[in-house]
Amino acid sequence: MKISSEWISVFLFALRVAVPLLFISTAWRCFSSMRLGKRREDPVIVLENTVTHKIIPVLYWENSLGRSWSCDIVLHDQTASRAHAVLMRRESGWLISDTNSKAGTFVNGRKVKDKTPVLPGDVISMGATSLRLKRTADVKGMKPSKPRWRHAAAPSRLLASATLLQALLCAQVCLAGSRPDPEPLIPFGLLLAMEWILYGYSIHLLGHVSFELETLAFLLTGVGVMLLCGTNRKAAYTQLAAVAAGIIVFRFLIWFMGDLDRVMRWRVAIGALAILLFAVNLAFAHTRNGSKNWIYVGPVSIQPSEFIKIAFVLVGASTLDRLQTYKNLTGFIAFSAVCMGALFLMKDFGTACIFFATFLIIAFMRSGSLRTILLACAVAVFGAFFILKFKPYVAERFTSWGHVWEHVNDSGGYQQVRVLSYAASGGLFGVGLGKGCLKKVFAATSDLVFGMLCEELGLLLAVAAVIVIAALALYARSLATRSRSTLYSISACAAGGLLLFQACLNIFGATDVLPMTGVTLPFISLGGSSMVSVWGMLAFIKASDERTYAARRHRK
């Protein structure tokens, strides 16, 4: 019997070494598959100057035309406006939209009022310049671009390795106690069902070609769920329910964003709804752990601010023709101010910081104005100064920052020193799922979950997991010029930035690199509303990938 317990120990250690390696390899294959799957920036159509016969390639789905050097197609024409018009590709074909130019835009001599279709052979006139739309195939010396969807690995194989990873984690939980416990097989089975049903639905029913983002999300979600299995079984089921809700929101958002006109139509309504939700929150919410941000609907408690994150990104993003027509940010700044004001009233400063960072990303991507960013930061610093002056209890959080070892047994550093101590106890491979001690500390599965990751699964896996979140943000960035509209690029960058910033607040707050703010780690922390919102953010990144909507077209 003694020999067998020793063998189990060695076996479990081997599992703990295998898990991070498998995690890293799966994540690596997902990202390289996504990188290879990106379209090369070849022009599909070109514009030919009717006078000089100069060929101008049209590279993007939305192209700005104008005199300004920053336009995608620069018109060397003094009579053209700086931002004259936008030429864009939609499901129906190519459209042109005049963006409040002085001289107006004409298609075959007819003045453009709204979005007007442009067919190959049509002539677009702006000021003194006339351009003819041509297919690449009709131009000598240019090869027609073929869409190439390449894969580094079959999507089913990637998901299979994510499943294998979850199986290894599940085995660890089952063998954690003194005798094998089969119960963790149930949450494992539920997770398995969810991911393969979503896979079948996306790939076979909808005909999607890519599943890497979902695989990455399941990779992280699986780690979180299994971590909960070893800590609090009941919470693991709650978390799984939240994942299911998150997947529904994910699919719904992708559908919703399939029609850009629909998104633009609903934007104001969504913004109004968000503010209404804040109002409801302020009126009915319960205070939990100092923040008044919980609403109880029957047995379920929800955090409205998490859902408002989705609305915030949707309201902030915009198509290029809109951006070029309505240049000012006033409406969005006002909306953001209301959101952040509400969060301050709720005393949820961590979420307020996340909204602010997201605001900066959106504001900069829309306006490109450093002045706006600096002004916003100045206002924020000023606001922070007043908060610290008039609400001294907020300042208390900062007093122990950087000195947590002097607050080992008081609230200033109690959680952080335990995170550090237990994280170091785990070494590179962790003490094993369910065998940690940090779980006994308050908020271990939410605010301190990074410490639990380090302790139970090891530094390698914990760092790999947060790097995946960072890589999601950078992936969103790499799609910025390839997506079907600036609405997708802006929302994807905002969502990626939001996830990364929230991850930073979580892990650096818990490890005393930054002051503790008490936010969740995307995909991994226990938190229903948070899980739903995180999958919502993933939908924005998914929508930014032009392949997401390509599949539907193929089916037609």
Binding site: I8, I361, V431, G432, C437, G458, L474, T481, C493
Partner: protein, 461 residues
């Protein structure tokens, strides 16, 4: 869309911030990970959910002084041994910062960066630490000290092995008293200090060995000179007294009688520069170390001192302070002809796989006494025992020694010292004993403890 693509680089700023923060965390993890993990509140070290087992601490005879059983740290079987070894082994909470359990906590816990505190096989992965100390000798010293505060240490000056190290007051680490940290009466004052290493005391007449060394080296006709001791001498208007009026004393007799009158005059005659130089050479104002634990610096400074101050300094009063560990090293130096073998107390650190990661060995320290001076001091110190303290204290051991009575004032009794060594090659032991606040004389207090220790050490061979 080109501009949107360009503006998206704002995410790189965020990414850079992320990498910076991660770098800070990882740097801390790699450099301070051991410190982070080895906290008394860490339940992986001291808790039921133990995933690792801490290693054992054993004495030179294999007696287990501390080990982990069922998630609890347990100490030696009998309370007297536990108390005697407290300052060497350390307490569970790590308050005794010079204890083995604190200094070697990384080795004991088996902590390393790769597996943290875990053990791939599920077995204890902490290293065992074998000490050079003899717990029965420590227990004897502890019993001899009884309820008195003080220190006792003994080492083999040929091999460097420390055999005994005891400091009181102490407590039982297995059952710490409830009022240990709340007591206001001062009965536990210094309980977390290993006084052998970390404290300094007024040396009293023990310091006359330094004055003697300076006299040997600077007064050519020392052995033919005499000093008249009428019970007191007035220097610079300040009266320096002796217990008795000894009359005419040779140098040898003056040391054996420990005449303040003679030695204060010798110090004044030598002058501040020569006294300071001799004290510095013999290791005053310097920190020594044992297995990486630094000893407290002792103090001798007569720069700008008035003649009466210089006189008092020569008999170990004034602002003089001595550290017991340094005194032990000094005895080892004199016994070894001027250059000590430095004491060590960790014999080996051995991993569960049987790999010895640290091995204690004899290391020669700096020359503290000139060889000729050492040999003459040995002769004088032997005379102290045969004609002063009584050779019966150390039968057959040819012990050379010096006592001291450090006056501390504040209504306290003096600190009584005895330092010395056996000049027999078969029993190469040096010792230091100090009894604080002692109402009996040096020989009666410190001398008797030293006698018991030396006899036991020699008999245990």
């Amino acid at each position: 869309m080109k501009t949107t693509g360009f503006r998206s680089t704002i995410l790189y700023v965020l990414g850079a911030g992320f990498l910076l923060g991660l770098g800070v965390f990882l740097y801390g993890f790699c450099t301070d990970g051991g410190k982070w993990a080895l906290q008394p509140f860490n339940r992986h070290i001291t808790g039921e959910s133990l995933s690792s087992g801490e290693g054992r601490v054993l004495d030179r005879n294999g007696t287990v002084l501390a080990e982990t059983k069922d998630g609890n740290r347990v100490y030696a079987g009998d309370a007297a041994t536990r108390r005697a070894m407290l300052h060497t082994v350390g307490d569970t909470n790590g308050y005794i910062s010079t204890g083995v359990q604190h200094i070697f906590r990384a080795e004991l816990s088996g902590y390393n960066l790769v597996t943290g505190l875990t053990s791939p096989t599920g077995k204890a992965n902490g290293s065992d630490i074998h000490l050079t100390l003899d717990s029965s000798l420590c227990k004897l010293a502890r019993q001899q000290l009884g309820s008195r505060d003080g220190v006792a240490a003994l080492y083999n000056y040929q091999t460097g092995e420390l055999l005994c190290m005891v400091s009181t007051p102490d407590f039982d680490p297995q059952n710490p008293p409830k009022d240990l940290n709340t007591d206001k009466t001062g009965k536990y004052s210094g309980v977390y200090l290993n006084k052998v290493l970390s404290s300094t005391f007024t040396p009293g007449s023990v310091f006359k060995l330094v004055t003697s060394a300076a006299a040997i080296e600077n007064i050519p006709n020392l052995d033919s000179r005499t000093w008249k001791c009428n019970g007191s001498v007035t220097i610079n208007g300040n009266k320096i007294t002796d217990v008795h009026s000894y009359g005419q004393l040779s140098f040898k007799k003056a040391l054996a009688k420990s005449s303040n009158v003679a030695f204060s005059q010798i110090a004044v005659e030598l002058g501040a520069d020569k006294m300071q130089a001799e004290a510095d050479r013999m290791g005053f104002n310097r920190s020594f170390s044992m297995d990486g634990i630094p000893s407290a610096k002792d103090h001798y400074s007569v720069k700008g001192a008035a003649p009466d101050g210089l006189g008092w300094s020569g008999v170990g009063q004034y602002t003089d302070l001595a550290n017991p560990f340094h005194m032990l090293v000094l005895m080892g130096a004199i016994a070894n002809g001027g250059t000590p073998v430095m004491p060590y107390f960790v014999q080996s650190v051995t991993t569960p796989a049987g790999i010895t990661t640290k091995q204690g060995e004899a290391k020669t320290g700096p020359e503290l006494v000139a060889p000729d001076t050492a040999s003459r001091l040995t002769g004088y110190m032997r005379y102290n025992v045969t004609n002063g303290y009584g050779d019966g204290l150390f039968p057959g051991l040819a012990v050379c020694a010096k006592t001291g009575t450090g006056e501390v004032g504040h209504g306290q009794h003096p600190n009584c010292w005895m330092v010395g060594f056996s000049s027999r090659q078969q029993t190469p032991y040096a010792f230091v004993v100090l009894v604080e606040n002692s109402s009996s004389g040096s020989v009666a207090s410190a001398g008797h403890i030293a006698s018991a220790l030396m006899k036991a050490a020699a008999g245990g061979q």
